[in-house]
């Protein structure tokens, strides 16, 4: 490991401390992934980064110092043995790297692409204290892609059947994780998915250019190869209820991971004009229904010239970049706070800017104006300024009186978040929810107020990230296993 010891980086303007006897080894910088140039990619839906070539991946992996007390593992909601797989990549033991990673994460090609590593594993990486952290996410993606593209996916050992049946509601990141884990423990797991495709938000929400759907399907196939069954078009609460699953269909336990799935609107005049949609609708048309391929695919999507996307999160960036690829001339993200408060990942904002997305910050829409045919024509906004911090710790935006102005738009995509969809909870008597409609579940075990019923992901914590949902799935699987094994069957 000695070659990993690097001289401490000097602070700018200071002479390095100590007296190096040997000439310094050149410091390896964090490697960037090659990617499609912006002017090219705005005309297609292909993935933006190409991923690391093998040499680059090994080079990047060599930046990991394999610390004794790896903080990155603690920083990962599913506790992947990060140094383990990175050192294996460095040493060229790719199969081993893949195996180590899959031990804790069934969906690495997805996580490697959409996890906010800068707030998790990479945030606490020791290398990051004095320089840039090891590109853990990019390496995760690399090894997952290598494994899949080279047909090296190995099905791990699966425990003998326990005779216990588990129903999982929703095939998003939480559901897939809990299903995969429980299946490996020998339980008979069936996922009930409301839509006609698996993956939840991974399929309907995140665009092809950020997360190719073939990759989602491949990772879902892996989960299926662990023995998990998926029933599509099954809207639990309507098709069957939780009670029916347990009392009539013979499931011993249920995990609810049906996601947030209730789009918020601004509640301003003009929101029901034609040309206004929720980001959920806009992205579902484009991603799940492949409206970008209309008329080859039947689902249409509005043809836009000038698009305003309301909101500052990752979904807003996804909507804006989708609009551009659908042929819009001008796409503007309208956000009521300032740049630093934008919840989107820096990488997403960066990609959006590179592609020519405009940002109108400290701006809040107050009305959407339509023409005689009920189509959007313009949007009235008001300028905001930042006041004192609110309960979220971010400075509260306050409207500046008399600062209203109009912007010309023909499409408005509302991307200000999602609440808890009440369809399932309303149909499940005894399942306790909080005042926002989120299911109340134990932090450690994901147990709900109903015996044998567990819940995790966005339906519990509110709209969050893929990896947090997966973390909940992992926690739930441990608690559910214990519960299932305590039952006499």
């Amino acid at each position: 490991m000695t070659e990993q010891k690097k001289p401490k980086a000097a602070a700018p303007g200071k002479k390095p401390a100590g007296k190096p006897l040997k000439p310094k080894k050149p410091k390896i910088l964090r490697q960037s992934m090659p990617e499609q140039p912006p002017e090219q990619r705005i005309h297609n839906f292909k993935e933006v980064p190409y991923g690391f070539p093998l040499e680059m991946a090994r080079f990047e992996a060599s930046r990991c110092i394999n610390c004794k007390d790896p903080k990155c593992i603690e920083g990962c909601p599913v506790e992947i043995d990060i140094p383990g797989f990175i050192i294996a990549i460095r040493d060229g033991k790719l199969e081993e790297a893949a195996r180590i990673m899959k031990e804790d994460n069934a969906l690495p090609a997805i996580c490697g692409r959409v996890c906010p590593q800068e707030d998790q594993c990479e945030k606490v990486c020791v290398i990051g204290i004095k320089g840039e952290p090891v590109a853990i996410g990019r390496l995760e993606r690399f090894i997952a892609d290598w494994e899949r593209e080279n047909g090296r996916i190995v099905i791990p050992d699966i425990a003998p059947p326990t005779g216990r049946k588990v129903a999982v509601v929703g095939s998003g990141p939480a559901g897939l994780t809990v299903a995969g884990e429980l299946s490996r423990m020998g339980h008979d797991v069936t996922i009930f998915e409301a839509l006609h495709k698996p993956g939840g938000v991974l399929m309907y929400g995140i665009p092809e250019f950020r997360l190719p759907k073939a990759i989602v399907e491949a990772e879902v196939d892996y989960v299926k190869s662990l023995g998990v069954k998926i029933v599509y078009n099954a809207v639990i609460g309507k098709y069957l209820t939780i009670k029916e699953l347990m009392e009539e269909e013979g499931f011993h336990a249920v995990f609810i991971g049906n996601g947030a799935g209730l789009p918020y609107f601004m509640n301003i005049p003009g929101e029901n004009l034609n040309g206004v949609s929720s980001a959920n609708e806009y992205l579902t048309r484009a991603n799940l229904m492949k409206a970008y391929d209309f008329p080859h695919h039947d689902t249409p999507i509005v043809k836009s010239r000038k698009v305003a996307v309301l909101g500052g999160g990752n979904v807003a960036m996804d909507s804006a970049r989708t609009a551009l690829r659908l042929g819009a001339e001008e796409v503007t993200v309208v956000y009521r706070r300032s740049r630093v408060e934008m919840p989107a990942r820096i990488e997403e904002i960066h990609h959006a800017e590179e592609e020519g997305i405009k940002f109108k910050l400290l701006t809040n829409p107050t009305r959407i104006n339509g023409n005689a045919d009920n189509w959007v024509e313009s949007m009235t906004c008001i300028q905001m300024e930042l006041g004192e911090p609110d309960e979220s710790g971010r400075r509260r935006p306050i409207p500046i009186p008399g600062s209203e102005f109009d912007i010309e738009v023909d499409t408005v995509v509302v991307s200000i978040g999602n609440g808890a969809n009440p369809l399932l909870t309303k149909a499940t008597p005894g399942l306790k929810t909080n005042k926002w409609g989120n299911i109340i579940a134990d932090d450690e075990t994901c147990e709900t107020s109903l015996k044998g019923v567990y819940a995790g992901g966005d339906i519990v914590i509110g709209a969050a990230t893929v990896i947090l949902a997966m973390g909940a799935g992992k926690l739930a699987s441990r608690a559910m296993h214990k519960y299932l094994m305590s039952l006499k069957v």
């Binding site: 409301a194 839509l195 006609h196 309907y204 599509y232 078009n233 099954a234 809207v235 309507k238 098709y239 069957l240 799935g261 209730l262 789009p263 609107f265 509640n267 929101e271 029901n272 034609n274 040309g275 949609s277 929720s278 959920n280 609708e281 579902t284 048309r285 799940l288 229904m289 492949k290 209309f294 008329p295 080859h296 695919h297 039947d298 689902t299 249409p300 509005v302 045919d373 009920n374 969809n421 009440p422 369809l423």
Partner: protein, 292 residues
């Protein structure tokens, strides 16, 4: 699953299919709908469940060929399978003994009125039904409606059958007769529902309408089916499909239904063109087989 077991033509462009879908057949209640997708490149469209047989595990769907998807659905034959069917969705109709209920159905909307009429009759109501069509050939389910109504009035716009006029004329005639109406349920084209509602509002007759709007998931996730009712935004898929007819913003609904009209037209034209070509190819291949 989802196999078409029986197909009947009710009129030139209205088809009636019986589909194998055991769980939905068991679970559905009057007023609920399904969302279907015919094939891998297909769109998702909502259709009301007309009837079901829990014993045989089947549901009955009636639809008018209007756009590409309904045309393609109409082109499926007995033995063919619909790729995806999700349901039962939406809230069931509120059924109780109201007294005298008037069920108004227009065009293919009669297919949506029918299951609710069955339930209203079973709940002990005095059921008067008014069903209307543009012309006699387009009149559907007359016999079925008659069998579950205490009284059935049939209207055609052109006078080719039954009473000459609109369903609202028949409704007015009932009111003029002095019939005390406790509830009116109107389902059909939006203009018809608007006309019936504005009519009944004058007489303070509580009126329920069933709306059909653009939908994708049908679970409240996309919000594409937004409609303004009583000045509030509601989702047809999870808050409806039935609403107080006196409070719906029909103008907005009509315009929202037309949001994708140019694309829908393009899609349909392309489908019909390909279908014609497909038929020609079919005939050609048959010819070749004969020659062999």
């Amino acid at each position: 699953m989802n196999k078409i077991l029986k197909k009947t033509e009710l009129s030139e462009d209205i088809k009636d299919i019986i589909v194998h879908s055991p769980v939905i057949a068991r679970k559905r209640k009057p007023g609920q709908f399904i969302i279907l997708r015919i094939n891998e490149t297909g769109e998702r469209i909502p259709l009301t469940i007309v009837d079901s047989s829990p014993e045989e595990g089947t549901i009955r769907l009636i639809f008018q060929e209007i756009g590409k998807t309904t045309y393609a659905l109409g082109d499926l034959e007995e033995g063919d399978t619909i790729l995806d069917i999700a349901g039962p969705l939406g809230n069931p109709t509120h059924i109780e003994k109201f007294g005298t209920v008037v069920m108004v159905g227009g065009g293919v909307g009669v297919a949506v009125v029918y299951p609710v009429t069955v339930a209203m009759k079973a709940a002990g109501n005095n059921v008067i039904s008014i069903i209307g069509a543009r012309t006699h050939d387009l009149m559907i389910l007359e016999r079925e409606m008659a069998s579950v109504s205490d009284r059935l009035i049939v209207t055609t716009d052109d006078g080719s059958y039954g009473m000459h006029g609109f369903v609202t004329d028949a409704l007015q005639a009932l009111i003029d007769e002095g019939v005390k109406i406790d509830l009116c349920l109107a389902i059909g084209p939006v203009v018809m529902m608007r006309a019936v509602s504005s009519h009944t509002e004058k007489y303070n007759i509580h009126t329920v309408v069933s709306l059909n709007s653009v939908m994708i998931d049908g679970t409240g996730m996309c919000g594409g089916c937004r409609v303004t009712v009583d000045e509030k935004t509601r989702f047809v898929c999870v808050d409806g499909p039935e609403f107080d007819g006196h409070k719906v913003d029909y103008d907005e609904l009509i315009k929202r239904q037309q949001a994708y009209l140019p694309q829908e037209k393009q899609s349909l034209e392309q489908y019909l063109k390909e279908r014609e070509k497909g038929c020609a190819l079919d005939a050609k291949s048959k010819e070749l087989q004969v020659e062999k």
